[in-house]
């Protein structure tokens, strides 16, 4: 069947089998491989997208259900050649390791800050429950979200990896090359 929706600001009209999930449609027809398939059961959050501004697990939404909706993925966040400030914080603070949870994590965190569900570290952690990360232990992600919430995030970090300035001072709590115990 035909599904018409807006994907990262562009109108799309796709022919998709009704039993396909939004995740399959985005990855295999729309080419949005920035949306990740982690579990297919609505638990890991790697496939999170924003549908009409609301975060959802695209594995648990059927493609026809977004007919007429606006869909945003993590690939649509950077603008004007600069990373979204939350993305910049994630990079600078070491919130990205293998990167597979990152797209969903960023979108869930973005929603949490937007709706006021990231007021404290504890609130951030509850808002990110269901975005599983196996690499970081979550601390650096929570720090990145808190910094973004507090408006500390830079908005001038290039989105092109080749142009990316490595900032020794911006890299989180261990930025200084300390010698000995305790940094």
């Amino acid at each position: 069947m035909e599904v018409g929706f807006t994907l990262n600001g562009k109108a799309r009209r796709l022919d998709v089998p009704a039993h396909w999930t939004l995740l399959r449609m985005l990855r295999d027809i729309a080419g949005s491989t920035d949306v990740k398939h982690g579990c297919g059961e609505g638990v890991c959050g790697a496939c999170a997208v924003l549908v009409d501004g609301v975060a959802m697990n695209s594995c648990s939404v059927l493609a026809p259900q977004v007919d007429g909706a606006t869909v945003e993925t993590v690939g649509g966040l950077a603008a004007g050649g600069k990373l979204h400030p939350l993305q910049a914080e994630m990079v600078m603070r070491g919130g990205v390791q293998c990167g597979f949870c990152t797209p969903g994590m960023v979108l869930s965190a973005l929603e949490a800050v937007r709706i006021g569900a990231a007021g404290s570290d504890e609130e951030i952690r509850h808002s990110l429950a269901g975005n599983l990360c196996r690499c970081t232990g979550y601390g650096k992600i929570v720090d990145a979200v808190a910094a973004y919430r507090d408006g500390e995030a830079p908005d001038d970090v290039p989105a092109d990896a080749g142009e990316h300035e490595h900032r020794p001072e911006g890299g989180g709590s261990a930025a200084s090359p300390g010698v000995g115990v305790g940094h």
């Binding site: 975005n131 196996r134 990316h164």
Partner: protein, 771 residues
């Protein structure tokens, strides 16, 4: 504490710079294994066994083949070489070298739930799934072996021709019984650990195609590009006709160390001539990919009145599951680390791993060295209580030092900074928190560990790297390293940048390709920074030395006075751009690149005989952790309040990446401690979804504080030690100690689920008076 020596100054090494790969990852631009597509690509899927142990009477694929869009359905008979043979080192001659077999597709008998039985290739995923559904397998159920204690009984069915003993190691040093006879205190306990899953976020995936000159090219998520050789054997092709590429991998932790999708992709590409993609579902991954070994450990430990260890008797039984894979090596790690980072003159270790019908077990972060931490640290806490000695003090009295030998015979060559770590962690921990309410109790626990980095030395490990300039002064690193998320590639960029002066953003690294990049070995065993880092360091230094000689002529200074900066070389007040330097180098036949190889230290080759003793690993990393918990005395729930993880990393190449490894490993260790377990019922895996297999979320995790000590001693580049695996050992024993401290119950079986904690509290009298 030793002084740090950094030969090449410290411009980039030691800086917590942002990783180059993070910029693309945070935008979803990284093309992971499942994100790649090819024209006319087929989709492959596996039919997996519903039974844990059954004879295959027949596999009827006719209905599947009849489905529109199905191109091929393969069973064991279609695989050119269906049997995969593996080495099983260990002190057992029954199995021995190249004697353990597994199958690409099950042949005659399935031995675990989820074992691949048939392989489907179709024009669409929908057709492939329909075909998998349509395959009819006629099973004759066989009795399952699901208790390792009984696997060696006479009446247990043999799962393999060699019997159910997969491997064993026996160590005896000193006079063990005499040691116990002289002990002031002897504590004895049995500890049990569970099966767990790696549960990285990226399920197993890849694509394959037949490329020019008949080379079967596989682009898959793997920790080991050297598996191209295994695929070649399966396809009965020469090794040089299979190429394995690995893009950035969405987590490995040992779960992508054995092959996953690679053989199936190779088969479809070779037999159909079409490109193919295979992506495992999370449920397949949880059902059938190899696990961490469940281990039963019996420890008897004796100490004198001052708490100094006098004897240990350790019996380890590990459940290897249905096929050998890496179980024998995992058991060697358990054996090597069984006594912990402690001196003891009289030690007996008996370790066995056996076949059962559980999912095969193999590599996972910590690789046998981590399960035993629950045992040796549990024993130290018991001795401390028995003798009335502070738990950190009793450890201090027993730590190994440089020059000591582990029971297996390995001498410790580098400094052991455990006393400094214990002091620093104890100081950081400070005051204990107060309980948040009635019927809540708080407690603190400590645990220390040692974990090797680098592969077993008799494997003659080596790593190669190519480092070269481009004409515009940018730098290229070529190295077949798989980057599984730990910053393996970015650390190499930092090392080359440090030596050659080119800023990191002007360095490009080509990774993970077995055909076009120098082979550097597996991203396993906490060896990549150590081995590949040394290879890149060596190549960079040789390149610098060669070009410095050319620059010396241009600058009219001694070669030692030539400095490499972002834009070129300088010295004696003058400077020359890289472009000019490279042109000058070409004119005198000095290449712009170097291929260098780093070799790990050698030792006495292992022999299959009980008297063998010797060096097993290059070196070890040591740690001390502390945790505060709050126990809900009514429900048994354990809340993690605070976590401190101290390690001597020798030298932190990138402190943010070091912290990332520590925090991530601790989180994984805490999931192991509290919630993760694969539950089997008669060898049927019941933990096949992410809603049943509970890895921690951000809510359960406390803030994990990394305490990084840099002793300046280690065998990696700039004297770094490996840190990928070591921090996973202490969390479980630290949590056990903290729960005991909170409410007086001594737990010995992982995970410490609320039910187990509550049951122990009830048995102990309800936790009244705890606190």
């Amino acid at each position: 504490m030793s002084d740090v020596e950094v030969e090449a100054g410290s411009r980039i090494v030691g800086a917590g710079i942002a990783r180059h790969d993070a910029v693309e990852k945070v935008q979803g631009q990284t093309v992971y294994a499942a994100d790649f597509a090819l024209p006319r690509m087929l989709h492959a899927m596996l039919k997996r066994s519903d039974y844990a142990h059954a004879r295959l009477r027949g596999v009827d694929v006719s209905a599947a083949e009849a489905i529109d869009g199905v191109v091929a359905v393969y069973t064991a008979a279609d695989v050119p070489q269906n049997t995969v043979w593996v080495d099983v080192p260990g002190q057992t001659l029954e199995v021995g070298a190249l004697k353990a077999r597994s199958n690409v597709l099950a042949d005659e008998v399935v031995r675990y739930h989820g074992e691949p039985v048939a392989l489907v290739a179709a024009e669409s995923e929908d057709a492939a799934l329909a075909a998998v559904d349509a395959i009819v397998v006629d099973y004759e159920p066989l009795p399952v072996v699901d208790d390792p204690e009984h696997a060696l009984d006479d009446d247990a069915p043999d799962l393999h021709e060699s019997g159910n003993l997969l491997a064993h190691w026996e160590i005896e040093e000193g006079e063990v019984e005499a040691g116990f006879a002289g002990a002031a205190a002897v504590v004895e306990e049995e500890y049990r650990t569970q099966f767990i899953d790696h549960a990285y976020l990226e399920p197993e995936a890849g694509v394959a195609w037949r490329d020019t000159d008949g080379v079967i090219t596989i682009r898959a998520a793997t920790q080991v590009v050297e598996h191209f050789r295994d695929v070649a054997r399966i396809l009965e092709l020469p090794d040089n006709k299979v190429r394995l590429i690995t893009p950035y991998v969405g987590g490995g932790f040992g779960g992508k160390e054995d092959m996953t999708v690679e053989p199936y992709l190779g088969i479809v590409a070779a037999l159909t001539g079409r490109p193919v993609r295979m992506v495992w579902s999370r449920q397949e991954s949880l059902t059938a990919r190899q696990n961490r070994h469940a281990v039963r450990m019996r420890y008897r430990t004796g100490a004198d009145a001052e708490g100094r260890l006098v004897a240990m008797d350790i019996d380890i039984l590990s459940d290897g599951g249905a096929y050998a894979l890496l179980s024998a090596l995992v058991l060697l790690y358990s054996t090597t680390c069984a006594a912990g980072p402690y001196r003891c003159p009289n030690v007996r270790i008996s370790a066995r791993t056996v076949y059962t019908n559980h999912t095969p077990c193999s590599a996972m972060r910590g690789f046998g060295g981590m399960q035993v931490a629950l045992g040796y640290e549990g024993q130290m806490d018991r001795l401390a209580r028995e003798l009335g000695i502070d738990p950190l003090e009793i450890r201090r009295r027993n730590f190994v030092e440089r020059g000591d030998r582990l029971p297996i015979g390995q001498e410790l060559e580098t400094v052991v900074e455990l006393p400094a770590l214990v002091e620093a962690v104890g100081e950081r921990a400070g005051e204990r928190p107060e309980p948040s309410g009635p019927r809540r109790a708080v407690g603190r626990g400590y645990a220390c560990n040692l974990q090797s980095y680098g592969r077993c030395i008799w494997l003659n490990d080596w790593s190669s790297a190519w480092v070269g300039f481009e004409l515009d002064g940018t730098l290229v690193i070529r190295i077949a390293v798989p980057d599984i998320g730990g910053g393996q590639a970015s650390s190499l960029i930092q090392i080359a940048s440090e030596v050659l002066g080119v800023p990191p953003q002007r360095v490009t690294i080509h990774i993970g390709d077995s055909a076009l990049n120098p082979l550097t070995g597996t991203t396993t065993a906490t060896r990549q920074l150590y081995m590949s880092g040394n290879a890149v360091l060596k190549a960079s230094r040789e390149l610098r030395d060669a070009l410095a000689g050319v620059a010396a002529g241009l600058l009219e200074v001694d070669a030692e006075r030539v400095e490499f900066g972002p834009d070129g070389v300088s010295g004696g007040g003058a400077s020359v751009s890289f472009e000019k330097l490279l042109a000058a180098a070409a004119s005198v036949d000095v290449p712009w690149h170097v291929l260098a190889t780093h070799h790990a230290p050698k030792g006495i080759p292992w022999q299959a005989d009980e008297s063998w003793r010797g060096r097993v690993f290059p070196d070890f990393t040591y740690g001390c952790h502390a945790v505060d918990v709050e126990v809900d005395l009514d429900t048994g729930g354990v809340r993690l309040l605070r976590y401190i993880a101290g390690h001597d990393v020798g030298r932190a190449i990138n402190p943010v990446s070091v912290e990332g490894q520590i925090e991530g490993a601790v989180a994984m260790g805490l999931g192991y401690a509290l919630s993760e377990r694969i539950v089997f019922e008669e060898a049927q895996n019941l933990s096949t979804t992410f809603s049943q297999y509970l890895i921690p979320t951000a809510v359960e995790m406390p803030r994990i504080e990394s305490l990084v000590l840099e002793s300046g001693e280690g065998m990696g580049p700039f004297n770094a030690r490996g840190i990928g695996e070591p921090p996973i050992g202490p969390p479980a024993p630290a949590v056990a100690a903290a729960i005991h401290d909170a409410c007086g119950v001594a737990l010995t079986e992982l995970p410490f689920t609320p039910e187990r904690v509550a049951t122990a509290i009830a048995v102990a009298g309800g936790g009244d008076g705890a606190g």
